[in-house]
Structures are given as structure tokens and as C-alpha cells.
């Protein structure tokens, strides 16, 4: 392996909660979307699940909020190498939405898409079993537009580009289909603990 002359890196405190190649961003929360932040009000927001499901369904703001509340408390990791510890997102578990539409037995993957048209792909197993949320609150307050407000997907065990901002829907599929960044050289799954940053990692 190639060592860079004179490079030592920052003094490091070992931290088992930090995936390889990540640093603790502390109070910072960098914004890294490729599109214009949409001006989307809760009244205009909707969330649809269709594709390989028994009953495709669209929820508006009030209908989504009528589902049982569920929060994520824990860490998030961005592929650009910052991690953020002890964040709290309030919303609804994706399981509650999926219980309504009932995916077919043949379903294996989803494409999550945003109101802007951004897309990202995920194995169905990564968004079920209490591992994904539709979130509208951060730290007890409405989620800011530049962080995906009024509502975004949260899949905290994968790199954060999977957690589509301004979430508009999920299309359930029986095959994997790359989304926006995945078509632009990023890894199809994006597990931070295995450092799956770019295709081929």
C-alpha cells in the first residue's frame, strides 16, 4: 500500500461507533443534494407506494400522520465521510405503510423517488423490519426544507444518499434498478460498515 510522505492525519480517538473512513461532524449537518431545494408545503406533499403490491395507495399529510408514530434515535452516516451521532427523527415506520399496500411475495427491491424526481434503489429487506422511516421531524421540530422537509425517507443503517429527501413514493419491484447516484458511480447498496461507497467497493 502506498504511504503518503509526511501525512499523519489528525490525532484520532478510537471510536467504535464510527464506520471506517468517517469523522464525527458534531453539530454540523452538511447538505449534499444535487437538485434545487423544492418549496413543498405539507398540503402539497403526498406519499405513494405501488408496483408489486396488492393495494397501491397514496397518503396525504394528514393520512400519513394518522399512522402510529415511530421515531429513530441513533446515528447517521454520509458517504462524503461525516457521521452524526445521537440524532432524533420523528415520523412513521415504513412498515406501517407497507402493511397497508401488502407487497407481493415476488417483491425484492424498491426504488424510492422524491418530489424532485431524485431516485435511489434499496433491497426490500433494508426498508422493512423497523429499519426505515418516513420522517417529518428532526429533534422535535419540523424537518427543514434543505434537509428534506416536509418529509424524507430515513434508512439510517445505509449511507445517507439512500434516505431520499422530499420523499414522494416507493415503487416495489422484483429486481434491482440503480437510482440517481447509483447510476453515477455509487455503490448499489451503500453499507457504511463495509465502506460500500462506489461501485466495485
Amino acid at each position: 500500500m502506498h504511504v503518503t510522505r509526511g501525512f499523519t492525519g489528525r490525532p484520532r480517538v478510537p471510536n467504535a461507533a464510527l464506520p471506517p473512513g468517517q469523522y464525527d461532524a458534531g453539530d454540523d449537518w452538511p447538505v449534499l443534494s444535487a437538485e434545487v431545494t423544492p418549496e413543498l408545503t405539507p398540503e402539497e406533499w403526498s406519499f405513494r407506494i405501488d408496483g408489486l403490491v396488492e393495494r397501491p395507495h397514496t397518503w396525504n399529510w394528514d393520512e400519513a400522520h394518522a399512522l402510529p408514530a415511530s421515531a429513530y434515535e441513533g446515528d447517521i452516516h454520509c458517504v462524503t465521510s461525516w457521521s452524526k451521532f445521537g440524532v432524533r427523527f420523528g415520523g412513521v415506520s415504513l412498515d406501517a405503510f407497507l402493511d397497508v399496500v401488502r407487497p407481493h411475495g415476488s417483491a425484492t427491491h424498491v426504488v424510492a423517488y422524491a418530489h424532485t424526481g431524485y431516485t435511489t434503489n434499496l433491497p426490500l429487506a433494508d426498508v422493512t423490519g423497523g429499519r426505515a422511516w418516513i420522517a417529518w421531524e428532526y429533534d422535535g421540530r419540523p424537518l427543514a426544507p434543505e434537509h428534506g422537509g416536509p418529509a424524507r425517507l430515513i434508512v439510517p443503517h445505509l449511507y445517507f444518499w439512500k434516505s431520499a429527501k422530499w420523499i414522494a413514493g416507493l415503487r416495489i419491484l422484483d429486481h434491482d434498478e440503480p437510482g440517481f447516484w447509483e447510476s453515477n458511480g455509487y455503490h448499489p447498496r451503500g453499507n457504511p460498515w463495509e465502506e460500500q461507497r462506489y461501485s466495485g467497493d
Binding site: V3, F7, S33, G51, H175, G200
Partner: protein, 257 residues
């Protein structure tokens, strides 16, 4: 009711987003690290310098693309960061990066205080096709600080080809001393200064008054807009574009964080 779905049919979201996937990235290239040698260091401003690298198997790039740089310490610790490519595509096997010296920065700090010609770093790329401009469509470029780096690659490319595809650059800097590539700009460029400006030039943020006239001189087919800089600048500049009538799906944004 059961919805059936042609599974071979790729899914297209209901809203189009900046012509996604316009430029295919070579997965093979995007996944392989190679050692590149610094051949030249040029000071640009008190806070920024350009590093010229000889890359053994550079597959070529499009203006606007970036790469990954990886530094490795003796104890195995590695740091990797994204850097836009400043140079126009050419066949010399060299590329140039322009780095700001970030206060307390791990990687930019090494480049600015240790690196010299003959040193090697690892690179991988180019890694993203989204922000690339092949030179085929009229482009309106808005950048601030080091955000002008990928835009400069576009300007240089356009010049090197003697292209007559319309290209306009609006660049924001704190002061004339901090304006990157100042001597290289031509009539395609308007500089905006936020803290101090040359005599006769007003001081202030980029505004609708800068953006609207460029949108008014709409070329056939309209502009592709490219916005690059800090998140604060990217939010501000992209909102100006929308306010001036640029369609949202023809605005590409690269945020340096």
C-alpha cells in the same frame, strides 16, 4: 385491485430531475485507485493553489467531473476527499486540481504545507457524471470560492475547442485577491465581490440583477445551469435562477459541503 408491472420496464419518476444519468461513468475506472505524481504546484491566491498531477492511466474526463484523492499515513490511517478537476480534458496524461487551504483541514492542509513536486497521492476517477458538461449545450455557470474550479474546466474546454456554444460565468469571491483564475477570464465572465471590490465595482452578494439579464439573453434551446460552491451559496444561487425563470430540472448543483 392488483397492479401488474412490466418488470423489464425501467422505472421513471413522475418528475424529471436534471436529465439524470446523462453521462455514463465507467465503473471499472471509478473503482480503481492509482498513484498519481505531483509535477507542479502553482499559487493562485493566498488561500488556494493548483496542483498538477501526472496520472498513469487517466481515462479522460469531461469538464465538471471530480475525482477522489486518498492520503495514507504510516499507521494505515487513510483520508479521502472529493476534488473537482480544474483542467480541460487533454491528452497529456495530466490533470489539475485547485485546493483551498481549509483551516485545520486534514487533506487540504497536507497539500498546502507538505506536498511538493515528486510526491505521490492516490486518485480514483473521474467518479460522477452528473455535473459534467460535454460542451454540447449553452451553459450558464454560477460559482463561488473554490466552486469555480469545475466551471473553469468548462470555460477552458470551450476555449480550447474554439467553441461557439454560448457559455456565461458568474463568479463570486470575497475580494479581488481571492478570485481564482482572475487573469484567465474573458467577456464570458462577470465577477461579483462580497467584501471588497476594485474601484467602481459595487460590493455585495450575487443578486437577481446579475442573473436575470443572462436568462433574458436566452440562447436557442435555453440554458443548462451549473451551480457550484458551499451549500449556502448553492441554495442562494439556485433560488435566484428559479426566480429568474430557469426551469428547476435544468439546474445542476454541486455542493462542496
Amino acid at each position: 385491485m392488483t397492479e401488474t408491472l412490466g418488470t423489464a420496464q425501467p422505472f421513471t419518476p413522475p418528475t424529471r430531475f436534471a436529465v439524470p444519468g446523462r453521462i455514463a461513468v465507467d465503473d471499472q475506472v471509478a473503482s480503481e485507485w492509482q498513484a498519481a505524481t505531483i509535477t507542479e504546484v502553482r499559487r493562485e491566491t493566498p488561500r488556494a493553489a493548483t496542483f498538477r498531477l501526472a496520472v498513469p492511466v487517466w481515462p479522460g474526463h469531461l469538464p465538471g467531473q471530480h475525482l477522489m484523492v486518498r492520503l495514507r499515513a504510516r499507521d494505515g490511517y487513510v483520508a479521502q476527499r472529493h476534488y473537482s478537476i480544474a483542467s480541460a480534458p487533454d491528452d497529456t496524461g495530466h490533470i489539475e486540481l485547485t485546493l483551498d487551504h481549509v483551516e485545520g483541514g486534514e487533506v487540504s492542509g497536507w497539500f498546502h504545507t507538505v506536498a511538493e513536486p515528486g510526491d505521490t497521492v492516490e486518485v480514483r476517477g473521474p467518479v460522477s457524471g452528473f455535473f459534467a458538461w460535454p460542451g454540447d449545450r449553452p451553459a450558464l455557470l454560477l460559482g463561488a470560492g473554490s466552486g469555480v474550479v469545475p466551471l473553469m474546466s468548462m470555460v477552458r474546454h470551450s476555449r480550447a475547442r474554439g467553441s461557439d456554444v454560448p457559455l456565461r460565468l458568474l463568479v463570486s469571491a470575497r475580494s479581488p485577491e481571492e478570485l481564482l483564475y482572475a487573469r484567465e477570464y474573458g467577456p464570458e465572465t462577470t465577477a461579483v465581490f462580497t467584501r471588497s471590490a476594485p474601484a467602481g465595482v459595487p460590493v455585495g452578494r450575487m443578486s437577481l440583477a446579475h442573473v436575470a439579464p443572462l436568462l433574458a439573453e436566452r440562447p436557442p434551446g435555453g440554458w443548462e445551469a451549473y451551480v457550484c460552491g458551499s451549500n449556502g451559496f448553492a441554495e442562494h444561487a439556485s433560488r435566484l435562477l428559479v426566480a429568474a425563470g430557469q426551469p428547476v430540472d435544468r439546474i445542476r448543483i454541486e455542493r462542496f459541503g
